[in-house]
Subunit: 359 residues, 2 copies
């Protein structure tokens, strides 16, 4: 088997422990004679799987009882619509801080059904920082952020102070990378395919009091209340993806030892890469230091041809999917939970060699 | 490993050939050093997978070039809304033939956004037949049917003659069970979890000319045009589920040898079970003979306690998930493509023994 380090932004690397278990259990889950992929979503075996997945998630993130956990489909792109369709109320207006492509899409979907207050934006500097000086109006139904921007590699180190206004956060690329204070949020959502499972599963964590009356003509599948009432089993959920997500939670809890350990490991990896970028004469990070993501590290040489050469040689040497997002170019190393420290160490060694040869 | 025969209505049995290949490739897909679950949806490896899956589907079903194939999320329940939101037009009205729970849900979602003409219904006899005598009005944007009703075990042997009005069919539980004439339909959709893959993938086959202008405020993810324009990659698709669906297509094409063979095998299995039901003094099928499904076979003893006893003993003997849908009771044997003939033969032998002991 070829040894590669997969720096993909999502779908992305999964813990080997998870894949080995999934492979071993593929034809026979715990002596049931069935694959989890073949299990009725109403079977006892599967109900135990989804309940265990949620219980582990609740323990890992310390999710309070007044928050519901949902396992849905459709990715962040569906949440861009579900959030305003469910949370707009009295004011018919939400505030958004624009930190790039993902918040722009959220703005587009919000504007279809309500008013959008642009609280702040970092577009003036190509989204290379997190806006900090702004005033949040009081006539908003919620404030929306993308907590970690996968494309630009920015991360909120401090959440906006929204007072009593519910904070909604797209945490697709940072969920489970470190402990979070769930009580600071009204709603969190995350596409699973970056840090917690396969593509095709979306996790939503929502504070109960936000489950309000919706338009009676809202499509049933877009109504959080329906999914809450049915414990994510209104229709057939993505059974196998929930099983894999459960295995990731088991790995986080029992093998890694919780999110404090995970955070320490993630900080160690990020430091190796950022320290090198800060001293390199060839490569440089593109994000303001104080707003750098632990998960997605974009960098450039400043020369497009050299970038392309680097990507090509890195790929040939087993550092795969390191090309930057098609909208920004350059390189991006996504170093999610499953990336081992040695993967980052070896990448930096390779970058050092490349620097020597090309400076 | 325990040998069980899984009669689940969905998620349901998958070909062992598919599961063995998936297990073997779980950690290393074709020497890439990655699991398909870890692959960027924009990587060359994954693009080859989704293109091969579609190409095989097109060959198997003989899909004409003027039909688009989409790989979406959200299941049939999302299609109940997407169909009217995209296909209602000039008349603002669709006709539906009500054959039970699934068409009822489609009616509910249709009525949220347009007018519903109930063309016919078999509710008078608890949905145990397919309506045949009806007139289809001409002022409809489309006619909607559930071609095979998973819960009641009914199947259209002849499609409604809708003249120039597009026919929309929910084929979740019959797709790929036999050849189809795609040109008779305007749109077909199918949740993958019954005959073609894992839960969390929905396949839509739509005739190009039905991709009309939609309400500009329609959520992006509910717009067929967006998905067509982006070859199902507008957002991150359910990568791993598409890979498994591709393996099922490979099995159908290369191992089974196409849908004529698959149909012959399915007819053989169904005949074994229906022939027994027709001569049994204890069990009886619940559906009119001419409308019986090849895939889902509901049956009862006429005595609820005996039904429960049968389900319990069948389960203990390795015939699992044979309980009828919670809304109708009794038993249901779902004998999808992946169920081998011997599974049905052994079930019938077990039923014969049970009959002897309990008559």
């Amino acid at each position: 088997m070829k040894q590669v380090y997969n720096f993909s932004a999502g779908p992305s690397m999964l813990p080997k422990w998870v894949l080995e278990k999934a492979s071993a259990e593929m034809l026979d889950y715990k002596g049931s004679g069935q694959s989890v992929m073949e299990m009725s979503h109403r079977s006892k075996d599967f109900l135990a799987i989804i309940e265990d997945c949620e219980a582990r998630m609740r323990r890992l993130l310390n999710i309070p009882e007044n928050y519901k956990v949902l396992f849905l489909q459709g990715g962040g792109s569906t949440q861009f619509s579900m959030v305003p369709l469910n949370l707009l109320g009295e004011h018919g207006k939400a505030g958004i801080i624009n930190t790039g492509a993902w918040t722009k899409k959220a703005i587009t979907e919000l504007k279809k059904v309500g008013k959008c207050e642009l609280i702040a934006s970092s577009e003036d500097k190509t989204f290379t920082y997190i806006p900090k000086d702004y005033t949040i109006p009081t006539d908003l139904d919620y404030v929306y952020i993308c907590e970690n921007n996968t494309i630009y590699g920015t991360k909120y180190k401090q959440l906006p102070d929204t007072q009593d206004i519910p904070l909604v956060a797209d945490c697709s690329s940072c969920i489970m990378s470190e402990p979070m204070d769930i009580t600071k949020y009204g709603l969190i959502f995350a596409g699973a395919q970056k840090n917690i499972g396969p593509a095709g599963l979306t996790v939503v964590i929502i504070r109960e009091d936000l489950l309000k009356e919706t338009d009676p003509n809202l499509p049933t599948m877009l109504d959080y209340k329906i999914h809450v009432k049915n414990n994510s089993l209104y229709n057939t959920p993505p059974v196998y993806s929930i099983y894999i997500c459960g295995l990731v939670m088991e790995w986080l809890e029992d093998i890694v030892g919780g999110l404090d350990n995970m955070k320490a490991n993630n900080e160690k990896k990020a430091k190796i890469l950022y320290d090198y970028l800060d001293k390199s004469k060839l490569f440089k990070g593109t994000v303001e230091k104080e707003d750098r993501s632990l998960m997605n590290v974009p960098f450039v040489t400043g020369n497009e041809e050299l970038d392309a050469k680097f990507v090509k040689e890195a790929t040939a040497n087993g550092f795969v999917n390191i090309k930057g997002h098609r909208s920004v170019g350059g390189m991006r190393a996504s170093i999610y939970n499953a990336m081992p420290v040695e993967g980052v160490e070896k990448l930096v060694q390779f970058m050092e060699r490349f620097e020597e040869e090309n400076l």
